[in-house]
């Protein structure tokens, strides 16, 4: 929802109230709220009747989920595609966060007016299938350069369902542990040996704070989609949150409880992290301004952090408990079923171009995302880049411990139950075990409909 729409709603509902309003006015307010939201994708989809002759105009929605001027970079990439492909004109619309974008697309799909193509979370696959909203890209005619085996398999596996490929990995990431090398050294540590285990992380953080080398030891953001980072802790503790299929999740386990207790204790008993729910978007700034020595964040924020930090930045695998572990994150490019056939084919051309090795390398270098193509990592550009920025290799290497991101039927709601549980525990409202038990009950109530 953009600024203008919100204002229209406020102004209008206020005017109604002045008229004395009553029940009818209230109903209109509620209806208008719905209207404002559902009107958004339509407006953004662009004027179809202005299409040039012989040019296929595509509407393309994309979110920005990490730090940095990504909207500008995306527009640059799309402009280059349009120049290279005169028969296709992609109109890119920045549609907010991942959650906002999924919401907009879902609404547009239900209003039978979806964009032609969009970047959505890899985990939205099941929801999009339930909505019957997308076409399998494996049914479309692939170009000569398309090679499924050249995509990083940790990312490609969550494009698969019912024996088909439903999307292509585009901006994919894993979380990594960012650390301040200068601070580590000041506190008597070795800048090239970051903590490897949960215990080491806490001990090192304490040393850093005792030496007053940094205000805080570590920051682990838990605002918004807290489930994402938390899933890594659960995997490290020994049990993934994902169940055996999309109708089961493992929230209420001893491993998850251990993980959540450890997270809560970072502030509660160990006092190496600020209390309360730390904002996702503020952590890169907190880290690059030297406020915290360690930070959990997406590798997608690497470029922005390197640009802003005035100290030596290190990246490392997230510390292990029983094992190293991470999930993957980020978005894939989907193509929508209600788009005309020629648009679908054009969108597929676009998606292949966007994820071709050259563009994959370019996008990864510009942002810090992991290159989605294996051959990208053999390119000269990438090799030159990692020679200068060795921090970028951590996420690629960490892929061997990667598990798919938490997903299920109605994944947005299931993920929110988990995020709520993490936030309730971190804020001290609930004991970790109780919070996870409730999340499990809430999730089961929904998932049992699909079993």
């Amino acid at each position: 929802m953009d600024e203008k729409q919100i204002n229209v709603r406020t102004r209008m509902s206020r005017r109604q109230m002045l008229r004395g309003a009553g029940i009818a006015g209230a109903a209109l307010g509620a209806a208008r709220l719905a209207g404002a939201v559902s009107a958004a994708p339509r407006a953004a989809a662009g004027p179809i009747f202005l299409r040039g002759q012989g040019t296929t105009e595509l509407s393309f929605f994309y979110p920005v989920g990490v730090a940095g001027p990504l909207a500008k970079l995306m527009q640059g990439l799309v402009d280059d595609f349009n120049k290279a492909n005169p028969s296709i004109k992609v109109n890119a619309s920045f549609t907010g966060s991942y959650v906002d974008t999924t919401t907009k697309v879902q609404t547009a799909v239900q209003a039978k007016n979806p964009p032609d193509t969009a970047v959505l979370l890899a985990t939205d696959l099941q929801t999009m299938l339930d909505l019957k909203a997308i076409v399998p890209v494996s049914d479309l005619k692939a170009g000569a350069t398309f090679d499924p085996k050249d995509y990083q398999q940790a990312f490609f596996q969550d494009t698969q369902a019912e024996g088909k490929t439903w999307s292509v990995p585009f901006q994919r990431s894993t979380p990594v542990l960012y650390y301040n090398k200068d601070v580590l050294q000041k506190a008597g540590g070795n800048a090239e040996q970051p903590p490897q285990t949960w215990t080491e992380l806490v001990d090192t953080s304490k040393k850093i704070m005792d030496a007053k080398a940094a205000k805080w030891g570590v920051e682990f953001p838990t605002s918004g989609t807290a489930y994402w980072l938390f899933q890594c802790l659960a995997i490290q503790a020994g049990k993934d949150l994902n169940g055996e299929d999309h109708t089961h999740v493992n929230f209420d386990t001893t491993e998850a409880t251990d993980a959540l207790t450890w997270l809560v204790d970072l502030s509660k008993t160990n006092k190496v992290m600020p209390t309360g729910v730390i904002d996702w978007a503020s952590v890169p700034t907190d880290f690059s301004s030297g406020n915290t020595a360690f930070a959990y964040h997406s590798t997608g924020s690497l470029t922005a952090i390197l640009k802003e930090a005035k100290f030596k930045v290190g990246t490392a695998f997230m510390p292990k408990d029983k094992q190293f572990g991470t999930n993957t994150g980020g978005g894939n490019i989907y193509i929508f079923k209600d788009a005309p056939a020629d648009h679908q084919q054009a969108a597929w051309t676009f998606a292949q171009w966007m994820t071709a090795p050259a563009q994959a390398t370019r996008w990864a270098i510009a942002t810090g995302y992991v290159p989605v193509r294996i051959s990208s990592t053999d390119s000269t550009e990438w090799k030159d880049y990692v020679a200068k920025t060795p921090q970028a290799t951590t996420a690629v290497d960490q892929l061997k411990y990667a598990k798919p991101e938490l997903t299920a039927h109605q994944s947005a709601q299931i993920q929110k139950f988990m995020s709520d549980a993490v936030q309730a525990a971190v804020a001290g409202q609930k004991q970790p075990a109780d919070a996870l038990k409730l999340a499990q009950q809430q999730a089961d109530a929904i998932l049992k409909q699909y079993r």
């Binding site: 004395g20 009553g22 029940i23 209230a26 109903a27 307010g29 209806a31 709220l33 929801t127 503020s282």
Partner: protein
């Protein structure tokens, strides 16, 4: 009334033109048709539709709507998140309405006094309401950001512990309430100012001649005469507070852990993020009833006050 005159005039003309009285009787209905069309299309139909949908099961698991009676309502009332949302919403109303109305009244009284700074103050009180709410929310978000926000910087200067209002479920809703009060107070002050200026100067002068000081003048003359405006402003404030969405959307997205998840935001996420049309419709109907109740009380009280005023 202009309308009734036209109607009365129209009837004889119509009967003169046609011998059948039935056709003439149709004219008034034809005349209200355009107005009725808009009410029907934008109020009656949506309300009817949301009521019907609230009685059907329609969500991602069951995309085809099926009649389920009151199941959506039963599920809603037994949902712990709904109870939390309802609690948050009512708490927000309680935190925002009394301070906003009382401060608005004080502002109005300050501005009502003839002084050189009155017009400056009027602008100062009123400008929060003309700013786009999303910008307001973004600016306040910056003010409240831990470590860098103005509030944190101020606390650092004074060597106080830094507030992290939006990080904790216990302070996030009060923090939003502060923004809500800041936003709304000036708006209510304008209504109350108009009310104050509408009070007959002769009544005030008579009271002054009887020896009433500023305090008695306010308590015994102005406040009673301002009562109808005050009731209206309180109702307006309650409805505005119940309808809060934008602040939540920009500043907290309902978090942390649903601590700022208010009614409209919950309807929004249920429909547009979770695609649960049945549950969202039931929530909308419940919301409608709540707003309707507030409005009905307003109409009832104001009508009675008007009745008393004209009877006296």
């Amino acid at each position: 009334m202009v309308q009734s005159e036209t109607a009365r005039a129209a009837v004889p003309v119509a009967t003169a033109r046609t011998s059948r009285r039935g056709a003439g009787a149709l004219i008034p209905y034809l005349l209200i048709l355009p107005g009725f069309f808009f009410v029907a299309a934008f109020t009656i139909y949506p309300v009817g539709s949301v009521i019907v949908h609230s009685l059907m099961r329609q969500n991602l698991a069951h995309p085809v709507p099926v009649w389920t009676g009151l199941t959506n309502y039963k599920d809603t009332f037994s949902d712990p998140i709904f109870r939390q949302v309802l609690g948050n919403t009512l708490l927000y109303v309680v935190m925002v309405v009394p301070p906003a109305v009382i401060l608005g009244l004080i502002f109005a009284m300050i501005v009502n006094q003839k002084s050189k700074v009155a017009s400056f103050l009027r602008t100062a009180f009123f400008y929060p309401i003309v700013l786009p709410l999303v910008s307001v929310a973004s600016v306040w978000l910056f003010v409240m950001t831990p470590e860098y926000g103005l509030l944190s910087k101020a606390a650092q200067l004074l060597h106080l512990s830094e507030p992290a209002l939006l990080r904790s479920p216990s302070t996030a809703l009060p923090a939003l309430a502060i923004v809500g009060i800041w936003r709304q107070t000036g708006f209510y002050a304008i209504f109350l100012l108009a009310g104050l200026q509408g009070i007959d100067k002769e009544v005030e002068n008579a009271a002054r001649l009887d020896g009433a000081g500023p305090v008695r003048l306010t308590l015994n003359i102005r406040l009673p005469l301002l009562w109808p405006t005050l009731v209206f402003v309180i109702t307006l404030a309650m409805i505005n507070a119940l309808q809060t969405l934008d602040l939540v959307y920009v500043m907290t997205q309902g978090g942390p852990s649903n601590a700022t998840n208010v009614f409209l935001f919950h309807i929004y996420e249920t429909q547009f993020s979770f695609s649960n049309t049945g549950a969202a419709s039931a929530l909308s109907v419940i919301f409608l009833v709540m707003i309707g109740a507030v409005s009905a009380v307003n109409i009832f009280v104001v009508d009675r006050l008007r009745g008393e005023a004209s009877g006296a």
